[in-house]
């Protein structure tokens, strides 16, 4: 319960911070804000659905493709490699088609979207590694720790690698080590809170950086 409240508060803080500084955000970070808003609404509604109908699986089935498209849009604007950009466009189309099929099947069998989350995680990890590769090739003048892109990308890499590992081993653990599931799930939830905290931090850094830039231009 406390975990959920903290999670919702972190999301809300990120949304409010991003919303108030919307004009100062560059296009990829505006997509990040949309992601936070979508996640906040989804998690709130999923919580309500769990209490009201004891079933929120459809919500997560619908959330995953939207999550993928928004994250892909953010990376599309951050990554400069032309062939990779083409790849992202194609992946979005394929993912939507794949999701439509999976959602149809899951809806009939009332299943959690494991395969969608696993595919989503793998692709996001690839985006993240590619963006790190691009960052190393083209270092910027400002410090890495003050760079919004670094925090965004690092949190994506950490969370989605962990998410991938967890969901890929979920069925095995569910059968053989039921006790571990709860530990790993709690751990993943904490990572999720950390992930959204870091995403909120990157929104804050991005807004602050653009604010400083605007002040510098005014002074000159």
């Amino acid at each position: 319960m406390i975990k959920n409240i903290i999670y919702e508060l972190v999301l809300l803080a990120g949304c409010l911070n991003g919303g108030f500084n919307f004009k100062k955000l560059s296009p990829p970070f505006r997509f990040l804000l949309y992601l936070l808003i979508l996640t906040f609404i989804t998690e709130t509604f999923a919580y309500y659905a769990a209490i009201r109908w004891r079933n929120n699986l459809l919500i997560y089935n619908l959330y995953t493709p939207l999550h993928f498209i928004i994250v892909s849009s953010a990376y599309y604007r951050l990554i400069n490699l032309p062939f990779f950009k083409r790849g992202i466009r194609w992946l979005c189309v394929l993912f939507v088609l794949y999701s439509a099929f999976v959602i149809y099947v899951n809806f009939r069998h009332n299943e959690f979207p494991f395969v969608l989350i696993i595919a989503d995680s793998i692709i996001i990890v690839i985006y993240s590694v590619t963006l790190f590769y691009q960052m190393v090739r083209n270092p910027v003048k400002k410090s890495l720790l003050a760079d919004a892109v670094f925090w965004f990308n690092a949190s994506m890499l950490i969370f989605f690698t962990s998410s991938f590992m967890f969901w890929i081993s979920y069925r095995y653990l569910a059968v053989h080590h039921q006790s571990l599931i709860q530990i790993f799930y709690t751990f993943l939830s904490i990572l999720n809170i950390l992930n959204y905290s870091l995403l909120g931090l990157s929104l804050y850094l991005e807004a602050r950086q653009n604010n400083t830039l605007a002040s510098t231009i005014n002074v000159n």
Binding site: V136, L144, M165, L180
Partner: protein, 258 residues
């Protein structure tokens, strides 16, 4: 079963350690590249500043040479002639005296006007005040006034401001091009086109003179001037192109991002 559990836990811990180490290595490697990048950028900046200073000194030197030449060849000659008129004026012949005084007045007036023109053409503040395009127009008017050349100028697009230091260097390059045309081309017409585009300025100066072989001249002393102009244009981030056909004339094009 317990050993399997231990393996899973160990793998999970190892996985997170590996992830952490990878991120740490990335940060360290990035920081190394970052410092390298900053030091390279600083060194480039220092080199640029040094080259800019050298260019400014070169331009200053050239300007002084130009002033000395103008004073010696033009104003000096006019004033010598005025002096000669006054020295040979005979007080006993009032008609001739009157004429010589009139001539001397005219010569002194011309010398004063030439000095004004020279001062305007060299005054950095004046160039900054009236703007780059107007300064070029003025230079061409001065050349036309000599009576040896016809000049045309077309200014296309909305006039945009160029950063003052770059503007001055660009103006001096164009002054040098015009001087070269006056001195060496034997042209009768100088056509200038200044085109302002959203992100760049294109300048083309064309004469109908005798032209020259660009490749040959690059290996001679005359080529030094061309190389200097090329280097200065590169220094302010522009592109310098020269096309010349023997017997038909020369066209020089400068493209400069704004």
């Amino acid at each position: 079963m317990d050993s399997e559990l231990a393996i899973i836990l160990f793998s999970a811990i190892a996985f997170f350690i590996l992830l952490g180490v990878s991120l740490l290595l990335f940060v360290l490697y990035y920081q190394k590249k970052h410092f390298q990048f900053i030091s390279e950028k600083d060194s480039l900046k220092t080199t640029f500043q040094r080259e800019l200073l050298n260019t400014q000194l070169e331009i200053q030197e050239q300007t002084l040479k130009y002033i000395s030449q103008e004073i010696h060849d033009n104003i000096g000659q006019i004033l010598s002639l005025a002096k000669l008129h006054l020295a040979t004026a005979n007080i006993d012949k009032p008609e001739s005296l009157q004429q010589k005084i009139e001539d001397s007045k005219q010569l002194v007036g011309k010398a004063i006007q030439d000095l004004r023109d020279l001062s305007k053409s060299l005054n950095t503040d004046y160039i900054a005040q009236v703007g780059f395009a107007r300064s070029i127009e003025y230079e061409l008017e001065m050349i036309k006034k000599t009576g040896s050349f016809d000049t045309e100028i077309n200014i296309e697009g909305p006039i945009q401001k160029i950063e003052s230091q770059r503007e001055l260097i660009l103006f001096r390059i164009i002054q040098e091009i015009l001087n070269n045309i006056i001195k060496h081309s034997k042209a009768t017409l100088i056509t200038t086109r200044i085109q302002y585009l959203p992100a760049e300025i294109n300048i083309s100066i064309k004469d109908n003179g005798m032209g020259f072989n660009v490749e040959d001249s690059l290996n001679t002393h005359a080529g030094l001037g061309i190389k200097n102009m090329y280097n200065r244009t590169s220094l302010i981030g522009g592109n310098f192109q020269i096309n010349s056909i023997v017997g038909l004339g020369t066209t020089i094009q400068i493209n400069l991002p704004i």
